[in-house]
């Protein structure tokens, strides 16, 4: 009897933990939740995360604050959790400064910063649900995005 009771308690605890982890939406600042995923890679592409360099492969999770860097023959395509599509050509460097997609709390934000290279951007749900929450930055300019698709080239030094 006691044994069954214990089992129930343990099981409900596990269920509770599971529920908590499923319910937790992409959180803003801690940078420990995946915000995007790599869908296409060719050539050499690396991800710089908290001082470590990771080789980009299909299916790799991208986190907030990650910096993507494509080599001379490299290119990469990623999809954010709000269906924003981003792809980059060779010799590009881009950082995911900010990404929040939390519809339940009504919180939305995407800020990407590109140091150099070429990229194609296609807006996802954030632009549809909160049009002033999407920005793309370069060293010289800031681009406000209202639900759309654009290409960008940034010449580095």
């Amino acid at each position: 009897m006691n044994h069954v009771y214990l089992k129930t308690v343990v099981l409900s605890l596990v269920a509770l933990l599971l529920l908590l982890s499923i319910d937790g939406e992409v959180s803003p600042a801690d940078g420990s939740t995946p915000v995007a995923s790599v869908k296409k890679v060719s050539g050499s592409v690396t991800v710089l995360r908290q001082g470590k360099t990771i080789q980009a492969i299909n299916g790799l999770d991208i986190w907030e604050k990650d910096t993507l860097q494509t080599g001379r023959n490299g290119s990469i395509g990623i999809v954010f959790s709000d269906d924003t599509f981003l792809s980059m050509g060779p010799g590009s460097i881009l950082t995911v400064d900010e990404f929040v997609f939390a519809p339940r709390q009504g919180k939305f934000s995407i800020v990407l910063r590109m140091l150099k290279g070429t990229a194609a951007y296609l807006s996802g749900l954030i632009s549809k649900l909160s049009p002033d929450a999407a920005y793309f930055k370069t060293p010289t300019a800031s681009i406000g995005i209202r639900g759309t698709r654009f290409l960008i080239k940034v010449d580095g030094e």
């Binding site: 869908k39 296409k40 060719s42 290119s75 990469i76 395509g77 990623i78 999809v79 269906d83 599509f85 792809s87 980059m88 050509g89 060779p90 590009s92 519809p103 339940r104 009504g106 070429t118 990229a119 194609a120 296609l122 807006s123 996802g124 749900l125 632009s127 549809k128 649900l129 049009p131 370069t138 060293p139 010289t140 300019a141 800031s142 681009i143 406000g144 995005i145 209202r146 639900g147 759309t148 698709r149 654009f150 290409l151 960008i152 080239k153 940034v154 010449d155 580095g156 030094e157």
Partner: protein
């Protein structure tokens, strides 16, 4: 002698402050494209020198430096675009699994769907079911006639009406996310107080 060293130090300082005249100017190029569904949005490119709005597909602007206004929009042809962006474009992931967008239109100042939109509602409902979606956004809007608070209320009623219609058609309430924006986000830009049927709408976004 002393004058010279002051001059040199001064030049170095000036050089550091301005980023040196000999350095190649940084240059951004931004090109607007139509969405996959043909719709065209807007991008606003802003520097310390000013802003440039682009809202026509194939048009571009360039940024020379932080202090200059981005250049006036210029149309690029397909080859120019390909020359620069071919590899970025070919790295774009497959678009087929993206969200679907349906727009339902309403009669003036009411929560009554137009006749055509009743069919669009059925189409949206069908897609929620076939996709087995657990994420559907229902976003209410109005045209620009009337006060902000009145329209906020009206857009809320429109969105709730559609949400309830989905629920009574068998969609689980937990999958529906309702939001509303009143007159603040027209589909078609108009002057204030302009009646515009295309702005009286609820957007249904299905993932």
């Amino acid at each position: 002698m002393k004058k010279w060293s002051i001059f040199i130090l001064g030049s170095i300082f000036f050089c550091l402050m301005t980023g040196c005249a000999t350095q190649q100017p940084k240059r951004d190029l931004i090109v607007l494209l139509p969405d996959p569904d043909g719709k065209v949005g807007t991008i606003t490119v802003t520097t310390d020198g000013g802003s440039q709005v682009i809202n026509k597909p194939g048009y571009s602007t360039e940024v020379e430096n932080l202090n200059k206004t981005p250049t006036s929009p210029r149309q690029l042809n397909e080859n120019e675009i390909k020359d620069i962006f071919a590899s970025a474009l070919s790295a774009q992931p497959d678009l087929s699994n993206r969200f679907l967008l349906f727009i339902l239109f309403f009669e003036n100042d009411s929560t009554k769907l137009t006749r055509e939109s009743k069919d669009i509602f059925s189409e949206a409902l069908k897609n929620i079911k076939t996709r087995n979606s657990n994420e559907v956004y229902v976003v209410g809007h109005t045209d620009l006639v009337g006060t902000e608070s009145y329209n906020k209320e009206l857009s809320s009623k429109r969105a709730s009406y559609i949400r309830n219609l989905f629920v009574s058609s068998g969609i689980k309430p937990g999958t529906l996310f309702v939001s509303y924006y009143g007159k603040s986000r027209p589909l078609v830009s108009t002057e204030d107080e302009t009646p515009e049927p295309r702005n009286r709408r609820v957007e249904v976004i299905i993932r």
